[in-house]
Amino acid sequence: MRPKLALTLVVVVLATLVSGCNIFSWTKSDTAESLIEEGKAHLRDAEYNEALEKFAEAIEKEPNNSTALYYHAKAAVHASGFNSLSLAQMLADDEFIAGDDFPFTGNDWPKNRANDLYQVSAILMSDLKPIWDEETTGEFGKTDIDFDLALAAGMRGILMFQDSNLDGVIDGNDYNFLLEYIDDISQGFEISDFHDYIASLSSAPKLKALSPQDTIAIDPGIITAFNMLVDNINEILDLAEAIIISIASGTFGLDPLEVKSVLDEARATAYRYRVADGVDNDGDGRTDEEVVDGIDNDGDGLTDEDSNGTWSL
């Protein structure tokens, strides 16, 4: 009798062991913590979209829970198929390095792929910025996410050049800026088709009626929209730069000052094209000195920068 009882008990327990079930899982409450655990299980099974849903629900319950925010960001990146290695792999490609393409542009980066990364960077900014600003409680603090946030902000700032209408999506409605490096290292790079960009936003019949010598005032709405794009890029790159400088000081192989100078150039590139703002945006001692006509009016090697808000054929 006793061996039979023992055998029955062992068989029942073995069956439960094999299934790996928890007999009390029905008592699980719908808390942020339990949702996070469910999301982590989905992450381990590479079910990234399901994981995203669970972490989003957890954030709904506890908006300042850094654990939920961190894992939501993690799931978003992995759902998109991006990670540091795959991105680095693309950027480290010899052909890409040797070329003069701006990061995340060019043939290797079709608009839909750039937009995927742009959307992910927005999620990362939204999730990680509160942790960086120490507005959250939970498992993760600012030193756990600094590098991720810096990368997200840096990428978003650069990608924002492709979201010219600032609608949050990189698509066919955006102007495809031609960003080109300038041989003179002190100049960084420039928007070499700024003139065409303004033309694309103006009404064609009106432009055709002009002679090359005539100038017309650029629509104030266009000026405002473009300056807003410049300011947004400037702000987000400023954040990326601040984080990188704070974490890179002497810790990593890359010279933080060199990184700073490169990000500064990216900011300056956008900033020097700010239109009709009464400021010497390119630091040449003159204010709003150019007409947007595709010509280097002031002979400083750049075309159409720091313009006065007029356009000409």
Binding site: V13, C21, K28, S29, R44, F102, I158, F252
Partner: protein
Amino acid sequence: MRNLKLTTVFAALLIMAATMIAPTTAEAGTQRYNALDVRSAGMGGAGVTIHRGFSAMLYNPATLAYQEKLRVDVFDFQINVDRDLGGMMKFYDDNETLFDAYNDTTLAAQQKLLDGLSEWDDSWLGIGSYGHLGLRYMNFAAGYYGDVKIEFKTDKGIFDPRVHEYGRADFVFAFGGAFELPESVTSSLLPNPLHAGAVLKIVERYELRELRLSASEVNIDDAYDTLVSKSDWGFGMDLGFKYDLKPDKVTLGMRIQDLVADIGEDRPPVIVNIGASMRTRKGVLLAADFNDVFFHDGENLFNKLHFGAEMGLSKVFTVRAGVGQGYPSIGLGVFLGVVEIDGAMFGTERSENPGGDGEFSYAGRLRLGF
């Protein structure tokens, strides 16, 4: 051509993200091993009222009151291993060359390694060992025991993959005793004797605070080197009570863990566990514990329940089964006179909710004594 382009900067930053070493503020996962006894492991973790040997000092010093004969444990060693650790170690062995040369290998190879680790992503896996030398006589026991645990987890991270390591080793001299409370204290309330016990522990602790490492830095030798680099001395005291509701049949017990404790910077909280056991007419021992009755850690009620049964099949073989934190457990004991062998498979819950993040482990023990 520029010396440093944005493209190059981003590529360098992303590659560094995969190889950097940095501290993290995230807390190490668990204290799961806590000198878990293999016998209790097979019984779902229940143990407040059932231990009679040296291990009574780990579960409830009041149960030392049951001792009558001299017992000397000259060798008692057990090891606990998480079940998933086997699969992960096999993956590591299969790719050892690539891991050793992680920083020098291609990004594609690094990506393949990270993808292969997804199954264990963000899961703490560990190995623990426990051993003691000790004796008990009458209502007293004394001995020296070591409790070592090493845990690690891989985390694919957002952009930067990480490996976390955590380790702790306690080497403890323990002295415990139990006595019957005088009738003047208990007779008016309790018809049967009430026993109280205490164990004083002098602890030397070596600790590896949680580290976040690049994949290429993972090396168990390094972990131990770091482990030894930090140590603290301290002490702790547990109290225990047991009451025989029906002598030799039904026992109630309580353990107050770390009533007084001070180990380096660690001030462990006071944890109170209660338990009951009953021996049936057929000789089956049933036991149940409710741990942390004051909900110090905020866990779900059902995470605190441990219950199990033990039945002797013969003078040599004993089988055990139970449920701990909702997960089933089984165990087997082999008694060969001076040699005892025990094994168990059991589950533990690492989240606050049942079924949230469970892990099954194996435990085995060899004991020599007389």
